[in-house]
């Protein structure tokens, strides 16, 4: 038997009929409903499609008639009342404006709350827009794709691209119009008088074709210029071209002194070129396709051919990569990946921004609920006005329209103010995370943001407008003209207010729990032991140009002199050099054969090991604790053939290289070993063994929240790299030493700029910037939400208590005592609050799940957070509601009854 459509269906239809003018609905509603029921039953027998068509036809029918009746002709009015036909007129608008203007306090309150909610939404949406929605500033940006390589067995999700791999892909790939390699870098730049470090990038010649940009002047790079020892050339950005060369085309052919070598300017790139890391200059990315193997250090970008998907492109690169597996990577450790360019850039932000979006949306909802309760209270006092106007012949529809116009005016005012505030707030928001925001992202008001705000206003007006409107116009308005009942809120109105307050508290509870969880996680991250001294440590970078310091001996001599001179400065306790300090954002990995380890099976993991070269003073200066053995001594690795770290076993002379390993290294490769000092390890291949002389405590190299990798320190003497970080443990405020250090460096080499000068404390703070920002932002939003909810609760209780003055007076006259009255008033409002808080805490579990990737091990069911939110909100609500309740209880029955 076919089930017949139940009464629920026709009830839905009945609800739909509410759109129709009342006279049609009341006269014919029942017949229409039963007719529809029959039509539906018949359609039901014919199947789903017929049913759907019946519904669509019925909805279209009602909407069509409703629109015709209500908006264009007002025919109901002609027949049933004596109102002139009209659509929305300026008169309505003025009436609404006057009404809004009359109630200054209520209007200001409503506009202020809406502006707050809309400002928060506008600001967060501006973030969303800049990060996720604005197209990249290149033609057909959807076809840009991110390329990289991955090696899960090395415990590396992104390895960087190996130049020979790229070379092979470039020859064999078919899915892309072009692919290019790049890397963001900074360069020593001197104009003869001073030296500075400027942001730039190394790019392969295909970059312009991939991005589809044209040089403003000159040309891009040639293949020739990317060969090792090729011509020294540079492209400059539009900004530098205008500043230094007055946008003169003759800049082409002039030279810039970079890394102590003159580079010929061959082209000028437009502003879009700065897309990558805010580069101001571009150098050719030099690579050797015939290089032995593997330096996974470049990033890739490609332009897909039209119609090719990311997945197809990845399959194509895997195909092009096949010969590499066959020839030199039979274990298939490394494989190419293709990803959506934007996803790759914004993944850190995704969850945080989503959480912010949800929270500001909730904030706006609370503001709406508050405005709705203010308006509802107003509506009650306006029932008399409405009754009179109705009696004078206005249609309910017209009154409804005027009320909605009033709501719309409030929403537009709030929205305009919110737009201005939100635009101002976005600047502050970005100032919280200056380092984290991708430089290509642009944040500002545009059509999309404005449209969003307008939509937010419209939704807002509907959200807070309906309750007061229906309340003001509902029920028997004719009786509202007489009698005092017009001024007092009915039981239904009171219930609606209670609901609104409960809903506000529910939303506030969701936000408070979310922000509580994030703050707990923040606190937990902050107490992670970084493994190094954070106070009184200054780090700064220097990079020696290879043209000037070609040999390892030259570099080591410079570094030795530098360490000695800085160490002699007053206020310096210790100083050291390292290739890559903790949280420096660098990673240089390699693989080792470990003495005493059984041979690795083909499927065993092969975790990459972090390499750092450190001078003898480094560990002391950085405050890294020794677990076992010793750190480096100044004489380690000295004596002939500097830079011998990567020498072959035969070429190696002298004692074996002493190395220091970290605790994770010991745990990973020698689990359970008591004393690893004296054990040996070596680079893969024909290389000499090296001896472990010490075990260092782990440092949080990749950030407080990231797991540490196994790591090995080598003596700097054996590989004096060209770019190093100088680490200084100071006895004074660390940054106060910067000028003295700069002088020392200038005396040694006037062309060398210091860069990335920061304190260890600052580096930690910077690594937590994003977390700090979203945690506190959510905290601010949650606090605002709680304040709004408390304010709303207070207002409603005060209002309802005021409405019940007469009842209270009678109760007092009949002998009720203050505590009874207080309890009665407080009780009814706290029930709504309590229910709201419980629902909110339940709903917050969903938010907790959304946040889980940000919670750093704090579970969404964190009892401390849940309990404190419940207690906090209930106590605050009790306090906020206590005063109105007390005031109600103090009523003097005699004066009240006299007033009657």
């Amino acid at each position: 038997m076919t089930p017949r459509p139940g009464p629920t269906r026709t009830r839905a239809y009945r609800a739909l009929l509410l759109l129709l003018p009342a006279h049609l609905r009341t006269r014919y509603g029942n017949e229409m409903e039963s007719w529809f029921g029959e039509a539906l039953a018949e359609a039901h027998r014919r199947g789903r499609i017929a049913t759907a068509r019946t519904w669509i036809a019925a909805i279209a029918d009602v909407c069509h008639v409703a629109a015709r009746e209500r908006l264009t002709r007002q025919r109901g009015g002609v027949r049933h009342r004596n109102e002139r036909r009209q659509t929305m007129t300026t008169a309505d608008l003025w009436a609404a404006l006057r009404s809004v203007g009359r109630q200054r306090t209520a209007t200001a309150l409503a506009v202020g709350m809406l502006a707050l909610g809309i400002a928060a939404n506008t600001a967060v949406f501006t973030l969303v827009n800049g990060l996720f929605l604005r197209p990249f500033p290149f033609p057909e940006p959807d076809r840009l794709a991110y390329l990289n390589e991955r090696a899960p067995r090395w415990n590396l999700e992104r390895t960087g691209i190996n130049y020979p791999d790229f070379h092979r892909w470039r020859q064999d790939q078919r899915a892309f119009e072009a692919i290019a390699l790049y890397d963001v870098d900074t360069f020593n730049f001197s104009d003869g008088r001073s030296a500075e470090r400027i942001d730039g990038a190394r790019v392969s010649p295909e970059m312009l074709a991939v991005l589809k940009i044209q040089p403003l002047a000159g040309r891009g790079f040639t293949e020739e210029e990317t060969r090792p020892n090729g011509p020294r050339v540079v492209m400059i950005g539009e900004a530098m071209w205008r500043q230094r060369f007055n946008a003169d085309p003759s800049a082409i052919g002039r030279t810039l002194r970079l890394e102590s070598v003159p580079h010929t300017i061959v082209g000028v790139l437009p502003r879009q070129g700065e897309f990558f890391g805010g580069a101001k200059i571009w150098l050719p990315l030099v690579g050797d396709p015939a290089a032995e193997c593997c330096n996974y250090s470049w990033l890739g970008i490609g332009r897909l051919k039209p119609g090719i998907t990311i997945e197809e492109a990845e399959r194509d690169l895997l195909r092009a990569h096949q010969p590499i597996w066959d020839e030199r990577d039979e274990e298939r450790n490394v494989s190419p990946i293709v990803r959506d360019l934007r996803d790759e850039y914004v993944q850190d932000f995704r969850t945080a921004v989503l959480a912010l979006q949800v929270s500001v949306a909730l904030l706006l909802l609370i503001a709406c609920a508050n405005v709705a309760s203010v308006m509802l209270a107003r509506a009650v006092s306006r029932r008399r006005e409405m009754g009179i106007r109705l009696a004078l012949g206005a249609s309910r529809f017209r009154l409804l329209r005027q009320l909605f116009i009033e709501s719309a005016i409030l929403a537009v005012l709030g929205g305009a103010l919110g737009l201005v505030l939100g635009d101002a707030a976005i600047g502050g928001l970005l100032a919280l995370v200056p380092e984290e925001v991708p430089r290509w992202a642009h944040f500002g008001l545009d059509a999309r943001v404005t449209l969003f705000t307008a939509a937010a206003c419209a939704v807002t007006a509907l959200l807070f407008g309906w309750a007061p409107a229906f309340y003001a116009l509902g029920g028997d308005l004719r009786s509202a003209i007489h009698g005092t009942s017009a001024r007092t809120v009915s039981a239904r109105g009171g219930r609606t207010l209670g609901w609104l307050v409960g809903a506000e508290f529910a939303l506030a509870a969701v936000l408070l729990v979310g922000s509580g969880l994030l703050l707990r996680a923040y606190a937990r991250v902050r107490v992670v032991d970084p493994g190094f001294r954070t106070g009184n440590v200054l780090t700064l970078r220097l990079e020696l140009p290879t043209a000037k310091y070609p040999e390892p001996d030259d570099r080591l001599a410079f570094w030795d002199r530098l360490q000695e001179r800085i160490g002699a400065l007053p206020g310096v306790r210790a100083t050291g050099l390292v290739t890559c300090p903790p949280m420096g954002g660098c990673h240089w990995g390699n693989f080792f054969d470990i003495e005493g380890r059984p041979p690795r099976g083909p499927d065993d993991p092969d975790p990459v090991v972090l390499m750092r070269m450190a001078s003898a003073g480094y560990f002391e200066a950085m405050g890294i604790r020794l677990v076992d053995g010793r750190f480096f001594r100044p004489e380690d690795g000295r004596g002939g053939l500097e830079g011998k770290l990567f020498a072959s076993a035969e070429a190696r002379q002298g004692p074996p290289t002493p190395v220091v390993v970290n605790e994770t290294f010991v745990r990973t490769f020698w689990p359970g070993m008591e004393n690893p000092v004296g054990r040996r390890l070596k680079f893969r291949g024909n290389t000499p063994w090296m001896t472990v002389v010490g075990v260092a405590h782990d440092v949080q190299h990749y950030g407080l929240e990231e797991p540490m990798r196994p790591g090995v320190y080598f003596p700097l003497t054996e590989f004096p790299d060209d770019g190093l970080a100088v680490v200084i443990h100071t006895a004074v405020e660390p940054t106060s030493l910067t000028p003295a250090v700069r002088r020392v460096v200038q005396e040694l080499d006037p062309e060398l700029p210091l860069f990335r000068v920061e304190t260890a404390e600052g580096a930690i703070r910077k690594s937590l910037q994003l977390r700090t920002a979203y945690s506190w932002l959510l905290g601010v939003f949650a606090s605002l939400a709680a304040l709004l909810a408390l304010g709303g609760g207070y207002g409603v209780t005060a209002y309802l208590a005021n409405q019940r003055t007469r009842e209270m007076g009678i109760r007092v006259a009949l002998g009720a005592r203050t505590p009874h009255i207080v309890r009665a008033v407080l009780g009814s409002s706290l029930v709504a609050v309590g229910a709201g808080v419980l629902v909110g805490v339940g709903a917050s579990l969903g938010l907790g799940r959304l946040l889980s990737s940000l919670l750093f091990g704090v579970t969404a069911l964190d009892a401390a957070v849940l309990v404190s939110v419940v207690v906090l909100l209930l106590l605050a609500a009790a306090a906020a509601n206590y005063w109105p309740a007390r005031r109600a209880a103090r009523v003097d029955p005699a004066s009240l009854l006299r007033a009657e």
Binding site: L24, R27, Y28, E31, M32, D61, V65
Partner: protein
């Protein structure tokens, strides 16, 4: 005297349907559907708003007296009856349409020289 405005198609159909006798809403809609060979299907809101229009113009009335209702029909349904003004309006519209049909027939004949 100004010529009365042409009846809307659905109003005309309703009047024709009621021309055969008193009917309630759903019955009118079914009759209209039959008369138009399925071309005009009236849905509840459209039908009743049209009936309101016709009532307002005095072309139909509602049958108030229960004794005038056809037997064995539910008392909860409203029945409508065409008025004499309604019949006049129907007749005028019919004449107008008949005139149109005459013209159309004349024009539909193939003229000499036309091809295809």
């Amino acid at each position: 005297m100004a010529r009365p405005a042409a009846l809307k198609a659905r109003h005309y159909y309703i009047l024709v349907a009621l021309g055969a006798g008193d009917r309630h809403g759903l019955a009118i809609a079914r009759e209209v559907e039959r008369l138009s060979e399925g071309q005009v299907r009236l849905w509840p809101a459209s039908l009743y708003s049209s009936l309101e229009d016709l009532l307002a113009r005095g072309l139909i009335v509602e049958v108030d007296d229960p004794r005038e209702r056809p037997p064995d029909e539910s008392e909860r349904k409203r029945f409508f009856r065409i008025t004499s003004a309604g019949r006049r309006a129907m007749a005028e519209e019919t004449e107008r349409l008949a005139g149109l049909v005459r013209i159309a027939r004349a024009r539909a004949r193939t003229r000499p020289g036309e091809t295809g």
